[in-house]
Amino acid sequence: MTWTDLQTALGRQGYVASDDLAVALHLALQLERPLLLEGAAGVGKTEVARTLSQAKDTQLIRLQCYEGLDAAQAIYEWNYQRQLLSIRASAEDGETGKAVEQRIFSREFLLERPLLAAITRDKPPVLLIDEIDRADEEFEAYLLEVLSDYQISVPELGTITATSKPMVILTSNGTRDLSDALRRRCLYTHVAYPDRQTELSILKSRCPQVEDHLAHQVIGFVQTLRKEDLEKTPGIAEMLDFAAALMGLGIADLTDNPAVLQATLTTLLKTQSDQAQITPEVAARIAGKAA
């Protein structure tokens, strides 16, 4: 399978991947290395993992990182309540203490969290570690161990080695600098906002029913809007919402009705100051340019 095959496979699932991204993804799969995706919010980083799991027809295991994420939520946890009940039940059966201890620290009583789940599947799943930059540095170090050896050590059980190596995709928004060690372990791709042509094909593949004329206008509008000095630049999802809103309102041309255009901007502009900045006049000017 070459990288172009992968690109078409993703395309069939409705994801238009740039050449750069497709090559990187292909290499990551072939070399069995994690792939680190960086880029602004809303360029489709998370969507890559979802589409990849669909294309490969495998499970997607997602670990959403946040500040204070710890090993118990990311790797494994003992099912404490079940252990207790088991001890109580075994006391009535007259089981010896040694045997009980053996039993309650077995895999049966282990609650799998995403990282452990990802390495114990029969078919390699896609492991998405989302927004790794939000997790603490300690967790990043922990992750390094898992990603380099694909094994997890549980003190009471011993080491659990991977039955299958997951395809790992990490995403980051750059809220904090990631460590060099993590960057070195991963292949890297910076995902930028798509260019006009790519974005047009994204719109076509996601909303096939949109008219050609309107599609060109929508893409032109959004691409120009991204160049404005906004607090929150609209991403691809916003663009799709915008197109859907226009279609839902039965609009065939952006310049037709400034009032409706302004109303649909709520799908693109997500802060108060951005909405104040794009006045009806500005919106009309951008729409005029895009037409």
Binding site: T2, H26, L27, L31, L36, G174, C186, Y188, T189
Partner: protein, 393 residues
């Protein structure tokens, strides 16, 4: 039009060229280890190697690690593989590098190699790095000058920003306090046995729910009182900047001005624009001026605001020269009343920085017994030096 580098005939083969390329990248500040050369070679077997654009994309994925490196990669790639030096000419249909760019980049390369020796571990972002160095040094020297100045020369906004930064650090030093005891918390580091046992009664003595406890953050609250009377006017602007910084660093801090009467300025200082806040305050401060009534002002503070805002976790910061027009006994009474609320009192006196200063002014002498810390504060360095002592309070 780009040109592919033709390597010498005795060149041992692709592996050596790849090692050369990795070395080239490393000299240009990319952080690459030995294993990357191997990975890069393996990667080439997985793409359509004769196509140069495919190679470029593959190597970019392997060799870069952050957005800046990815940006520079094209140039580095061109300068090694498409070097105009020893060449056979060949047209590459899809390439964005212009010939002039090539010449430029090969020259750049030698330049960068020459100075990259010392900074091998940092990403060499061309002139960006040099820029940073430059401003860094400028700030450092400016700062040391600034620190030795008497505060009355501090009038420029940048300097006030500097004073603000110091205030921010001091505010942080004051605030960071942890309690010794633990209280119930959802994610604690210890088990909360009393709660676990209480909860276990519902499940027949079986402790099914593990509840936790943690040391809570018990921050200290800073309450600052700034003297803006005539004698203090040369210092007041900087002290106000200092207060503004404190307000910004610390959401719980509280600030007051006094001269002949007391004004609460906490809200005014919370203005989004720092300079605007200071401007508003300067106006307020100038509006009064004249004499100083430290004693009555503090008395009023102790009787009114202190009841609401001062407790055992507060640090009361008084910025004043101690020249009072009222009898000193009032000040002593006010301070002892404040003290009974359990707070710490710090007096920062700009005059104390002068040589041969002795606290002989009546008010100052009367206040001394009640004060936990009496320090000079007429240079920024003094304010900065306060930090270690505040931490141990």
């Amino acid at each position: 039009m780009t040109r592919v580098t033709r390597f010498a005939a005795r060149d041992p083969g692709p592996a050596a060229r790849m090692t050369g390329f990795i070395t080239h990248l490393r000299q240009n500040g990319l952080r690459l280890g030995v294993s990357e050369a191997e990975t890069a070679l393996t990667a080439l077997t997985l793409v359509d190697a004769p196509d140069i654009e495919h190679c470029r994309m593959a190597m970019r994925a392997v060799c870069t690690g952050c957005a800046e490196e990815a940006d520079r990669f094209d140039e580095l790639f061109n300068s090694y593989w498409l070097d105009a030096g020893r060449v056979k000419q060949r047209l590459i249909p899809k390439s964005d590098a212009s010939p002039s760019n090539d010449v430029q980049s090969s020259r750049d390369r030698s330049g960068e190699t020459a100075h990259s020796g010392g900074t091998a571990t940092t990403p060499d972002t061309q002139e960006g790095a040099a820029d940073n160095d430059g401003t860094g040094k400028l700030i450092a020297t400016r700062q040391s000058n600034l620190k030795r100045k008497d505060l009355r020369e501090l009038i420029r906004p940048e300097d006030i920003a500097e004073a603000e930064a110091v205030a921010r650090r001091i505010g942080e030093a004051l605030r960071d306090r942890r309690s010794r005891r633990r209280i119930a918390a959802r994610k604690g580091d210890r088990l909360h046995f009393r709660k676990i046992i209480r909860r276990s009664l519902a499940t027949g003595g079986e402790p099914l729910h593990l509840l936790r406890k943690q040391r809570p953050d018990r921050s200290r609250k800073v309450v600052a009182l700034c003297d803006v009377s005539g004698s203090m006017s040369v210092y007041s602007q900087v002290f106000l900047a200092f207060l503004a910084g404190l307000m910004r660093a610390d959401k719980d801090a509280d600030a007051y001005l006094f001269h002949t009467r007391l004004v609460r300025i906490t809200e005014a200082l919370r203005d989004k624009d720092a300079m605007q806040a200071i401007g508003r305050l300067s106006l307020m401060a100038n509006g009064f001026g004249g004499g100083t009534k430290i004693g009555p002002s503090l008395q009023r503070f102790a009787d009114t605001y202190a009841r609401r805002f001062v407790d055992g976790r507060s640090v009361v910061l008084i910025l004043s020269d101690g020249y009072d027009t009222e009898p000193p006994q009032g000040l002593a009474n006010a301070l002892s009343k404040l003290k009974k609320r359990g707070c710490r009192i710090i007096w920062l006196n700009p005059l104390k920085g002068w040589q041969d200063y002795a606290p002989i002014a009546g008010a100052m002498a009367a206040a001394l017994p009640e004060i936990d810390l009496f320090k000079p504060a007429n240079t920024l360095a003094d304010l900065e030096n306060l930090r270690p002592e505040l931490v141990t309070l």
